[in-house]
Each structure stands twice: as C-alpha cells, then as structure tokens.
Symmetry: C2
Subunit: 250 residues, 2 copies
Amino acid sequence: MIKNKKVNAAIIIIGNEILSGRTQDTNTGTIALWLNSIGVKVQEVRVIPDIEKTIIDTVNILRKANDYVFTTGGIGPTHDDITAESISKAFFLDYEIHKEAFKILEAYYKPGEFNKGRQKMVWMPKDAKLILNPTSGAPGFSVNNVFCLPGVPSILKSMLGGLKNMISGGKPIISYAINLRTVESEISKPLTFVQENNKEVEIGSYPFFRAGKVGVSIVLRSDNKSKIEVCNSQILEFVDQKKIEIIESS
Amino acid sequence: MIKNKKVNAAIIIIGNEILSGRTQDTNTGTIALWLNSIGVKVQEVRVIPDIEKTIIDTVNILRKANDYVFTTGGIGPTHDDITAESISKAFFLDYEIHKEAFKILEAYYKPGEFNKGRQKMVWMPKDAKLILNPTSGAPGFSVNNVFCLPGVPSILKSMLGGLKNMISGGKPIISYAINLRTVESEISKPLTFVQENNKEVEIGSYPFFRAGKVGVSIVLRSDNKSKIEVCNSQILEFVDQKKIEIIESS
C-alpha cells in the first residue's frame, strides 16, 4: 500500500435515466464514501448518455488524468447496455466472450435459463479482470485502472468489498463536521482566516435548514488527523468568542 | 420560441461536499426535469471541486458545446464560494459589485444586517443578469448562456420559475414508462428490434426490485408524441405474445 501518496479517482455515471431526471443517482455517494475509507479521493464525476463515442472519449480522458476510474451502468443484457463494448474500443481490445464469466453465469442460472439475452453479459474486453457479484451473478470487470460496475445501487454496493484488493489507496481521508446555530455571513471572515492558516485541511461551509431553523455545517477534511484537530481548535476559538451555539460535532 | 430545434444543456455541480459523498446531489434531477418540460435536454453533468481553474476550464468547455450551462453551488458568503469570481475570469469580465443586487439585498435585510460577509454575495461578473431568489434574497446570475444557481436545493427550486423567460427551448420532451413483471434478458431481443425500428425514440430498459419482486421499466423518450405511441404499440405486441404482465404504464 502506498501510504504517503495522494490517490485520486473519477466516477463516470453512464445512463440517460440520470440525465433525464427520472432516476436519482446514489452510486456517486456510495462509491465516494467507500473510496475515502481506503484513502482515495474523488476528483470529478461525469454523468454521460448511453452514446458509444461519449463513453469512449470520457473514459480515455479520465483514465489518464486519474489513478482510478469507476463506471456505473450499462452492463446488463439489453440494447442500451453498451459499456463493455465501448470500454473494449477505448482500449483497442477485442470484445469477446469471457470464459470465466461464462462459467460463473452458467453455474448461477438453472439449466436452460442462461439464454442468449443473459449471455450478452459475459461479452467483455479481452482479458478483463472480473469483479464478482454476490447479489445477482453477473460480474463487473476491470481493464487497467478502469473498473466497470452495474447501475443498480444495491448490486453495486454488494460488489465494492470484492474490489478492495484491486485498489491501492493512500491514507484514509478523515472528515469532521461542526454544526453551528448561526448563518454563514456571521462566520465567513474568521473562517477565511482559519482556512488561510490551515491550507492542508479542506474547509467547507454549508448552510442548512432543519425544523424551521437555520444553521451552518463546517466540514473539515484531510488525511492528517492532527491537522484537523488544530483547525478545529481555531474554529472553536472564534465560535466561543462570538458566543455561537454548537449544535453537534462529529 | 424555436420549436423545431434540438436544444441541449449541461449542468455543473460545484462542490467538494458532493464529491466526498457527504451530501447527495438532488439538483441535477430538479434542473433536468424542469428543462425537459421546456424542451431542453441535458447532455452531460459534471461534478467538480471548489477549485478556480477547474471551474473556469469546465465552464469554458461546456458553454461552447451546449446551448445552455447551469451551475449550482458556490455563490454564498464564505471562502469556499468562488463561483462568481471564477465565472468572471472564464469570460474575462471584471468581478465587481452588482448595483441592482446590492439594492435588492440592502432592502431584504434589516438595517445593519447587510454586513461585509453578506456583501460578498453581490460581487458578480460585470453586467451579469440577475436571477431572482424568492426564498432567501441573494440572487443568482447569468452571463451569456451560463446560469449560476445556488447549491441549497429548496432555494434553487424556487428560482427556476424566474428563469423561464431567459431560456428558449424546443419541443417539450415526453417520457412514457411501461413497467413489466419480467427480467431484462426475456425482452432484450424484441426490444432491440423495436429500438432499431424507432430510431427517433430513445428506449431505456431499467431493472427494478420492489417488495421482493423483480421487474423491468421500459422508458420511451422523444419530443414526438405519435412516435412514442407507435413505439409503445410495438412493445405491447411482444409483451402480449410473451404473456408478460404489465404492472403499470404512464
């Protein structure tokens, strides 16, 4: 494990259903939180349509700019599932039946149920590595630093555990939140000052409305716990001076 | 209104909190559904961090490739709110106090409450057009084809109505869903055939799991109602032949 290196990733959400607003993407959050826990930071997410050229171009741009790329969606049995073929083209690899995947699905389905439609799911880029699927059989796959996962959130979630040994992360990214009963304009000046003094901690400020009351959530992120603590103590100092109520911190 | 032209848009979600997985983006869905209703199709969504160069580069790429670009987030009063200044730089415009926005917020707040922190929210690209905010006062703004909205979902939602006259859409995009009690592999072949015969209708196929039962949602999208009807009747034909149960359609 490379422990002192910053490791980053991009996520590509492939699917017209997200772009149309019909379906709410939740896979970004699932993948991002899991990646943070193994020391990988998500730098960018792109949601793109089921168009071959767009998939190829996006994969090729992002795989060069990031340590890892994760795609979701488009690996099922229907006509709009074009991720595996597009990835093959992105890497100039043959698109062919993956023997190991074929065996897995042949054993997964009852005799006679592994029909032509389902057999589409074992067509992959040549020599792709499989990502096992404990929920519904059909595996995902990876080629170099690109990992292709399904779009159905519960299935995707169940496959992340199997990915762990395929990813080398840095230090886990720690996140600490301080929720205050205040408004952003009240704390913007001292918070800017704290950010300037703590450049290695990413400080975010997010207003919220809960039960008719406004508040601000200050979120500190870093892979260095002691730097978060220093930053937190400087924030608590101005919070105390300004007599702002702390709702919770965690 | 241009009624026979395809009009497209990109959405840029600006915010580390989405990339970290801490916050679930819902603004994409809100904007996309609203744009569909006025005949604008979302082609791409990018989620990017609060980094000036990334914002400038992303805005400049997407504003040239799309009829409209919508940004969300980063227009509040704190140090991490850098959207307005970044947009100014993307367009080589001065970043300055917007007199009309100043007047609006001066009138909105009680005397003495329009402090330095809040005054940051009236700094905008020179000659930006305002997007009024009926919820919390501080306006969004547009420059050419780029529309900058806040990140807080309820505020963003309340501002879309005021945008309507600033956008010229095409024909509204109609969406029709047929939910079947089947699995994708059962219908993949005839559905591919229907897609090949109906190239102007975008056909999506989405498996679902509800109350322990599997099903498939077929979604037809087009700006032409009669083409959707033709496509639907061809689908109903094979659904009937295969004796597949229709759960609902709408």
